[in-house]
């Protein structure tokens, strides 16, 4: 139990003392998660929209596949990405292994199904009258997408926040693709794994708190977007 208390104290120390390894990990985490969130939202919103808005043959199967992709283990994604960007992989020449870019690619694959599946289910809940209204007001295809997404903005926000939580806390990809290299690809979660492995539970807790703090700040700023 006491290591939890110690962890709280340590969390403050780490942040206040400006411990450079902590801060570079914070920085790496922010960079990589922002990047992967942007990519997965960019790809997930349109895909989710198409899947939720239109009725077409095979839609149900696509949904099942997407839902299954929600259960892609991070280590698995990590291995698959590794296979592609390792020196002997088809993309080996780009030198993405042990880089933040590599991690971001993997995390995008992780977050994409979350964004897409939740967007689709939110869009599905849209009133049929909205679709009719938009068409009769002369909305083009792009207007329909943007307006529908805006109508269900709180649902989309929930999708994004869920995906963000997933990306922020994932270890498997960062470890496998990033290599947990100090000052380079060490993110907060891989640092937590490392400290915990060393038996430094208090440090693990402290870093966990730092991560939660980041999430809290992000969610606090998002909560201003959300009306009462």
């Amino acid at each position: 139990m006491d290591f939890i208390v110690a962890g709280f104290i340590k969390a403050f120390e780490l942040l206040i003392s400006g411990d450079s390894s902590t801060w570079t990990a914070v920085w790496a985490t922010l960079k990589v998660s922002t990047c992967s969130m942007l990519l997965s939202i960019g790809a997930g919103l349109p895909c989710g929209f198409l899947l939720g808005y239109f009725d077409f043959k095979g839609k149900k199967h696509l949904r099942t596949i997407l839902d299954t992709m929600l259960a892609l283990p991070t280590v698995f994604i990590g291995l698959a990405v590794y296979a592609f960007i390792s020196h002997q992989g088809p993309l080996g020449e780009f030198g993405l292994l042990f880089t933040l870019t590599g991690i971001a690619i993997g995390q995008t694959i992780l977050a994409f199904p979350i964004v897409a599946a939740l967007t689709a289910s939110t869009i599905e809940s849209i009133d049929h009258d909205l679709k009719l209204t938009l068409v009769t007001l002369g909305a083009g295809k792009r207007n329909i997408i943007t307006t529908c997404l805006w109508e269900v903005r709180f649902g989309i926000l929930a999708a994004a926040v869920t995906a963000y939580g997933r990306v922020l806390t994932e270890v498997g990809i960062s470890m496998m693709v990033g290599g947990n290299i100090k000052y380079h690809t060490r993110t907060i979660t891989t640092a937590i794994a490392l400290e915990t492995n060393k038996g430094l539970f208090a440090d693990g807790i402290a870093l966990g708190l730092v991560l939660i703090m980041i999430a809290f700040i992000v969610n606090l700023s998002l909560s201003f977007l959300r009306k009462q």
Partner: protein, 252 residues
Amino acid sequence: AGSKGLMMATTTSTDNTGLLDYLIPHFEKQTNISLKWTATGTGKALKLGQNCDVDVLLVHAPPAEKKYIANGYGKDRREVMYNDFVIIGPENDPAGIKGKSISDALSAVKNEQAVFMSRGDDSGTNKKEKLLWKNAGIQLPDKEKWYVQTGQGMLATINVAQERNGYTMTDRGTYIKYQSQKDGNAPLKILVEGDSILLNQYSVLTLDPKNCANAKYDLALKFSDWMASQNAQNLIKDFRLLGQKLFIPNAK
């Protein structure tokens, strides 16, 4: 195998003990070569080398290393240091193994069906442990109830042993760490130590340029040389964790 500097794969023990954090800045300063490392299980470290994703390895599994070279993945193997393994267990020692030889101790564990933790992760440590069972003439008790395979790192395994009041085999470095975390009165004590079979040899392995043309073989060799240099060997000798010596340099 990035553009500048060396990329090394190593086992968790060298990283977790802080040895690399202590040693590498010296290397970088003296040779002007930058070195990054990723710490993983021995098996994965070897695999990363085989796939040419790193330039050099620092590992501790001599039989596997020799096979690795034989397979054409590794080129030079240079032994640089060692530490040793010990068998630890609860102070009341239910199987009564204290002071026994390795083989007797393991037989006692088996006969008493005392709980024994194995890392079961094919790491250097695990490989050594399996060898010990074999030497004691006992078939690996894979499915026995008292033989618990944690599939985790050394410290986690020690913690499991402590929770379950069992025995385990560990490298001394990790044990020292564990001990320090318990403020010197750890529930698990060293019960068997000192046998020459318990030595834990670390080596630097360079990769065979034939297999990995992109690997920085020359820089890797420099690292290997440096580790064997008097300077580095002295540094290793002076490295202490919580006041105790951890690694004994033995480069030839």
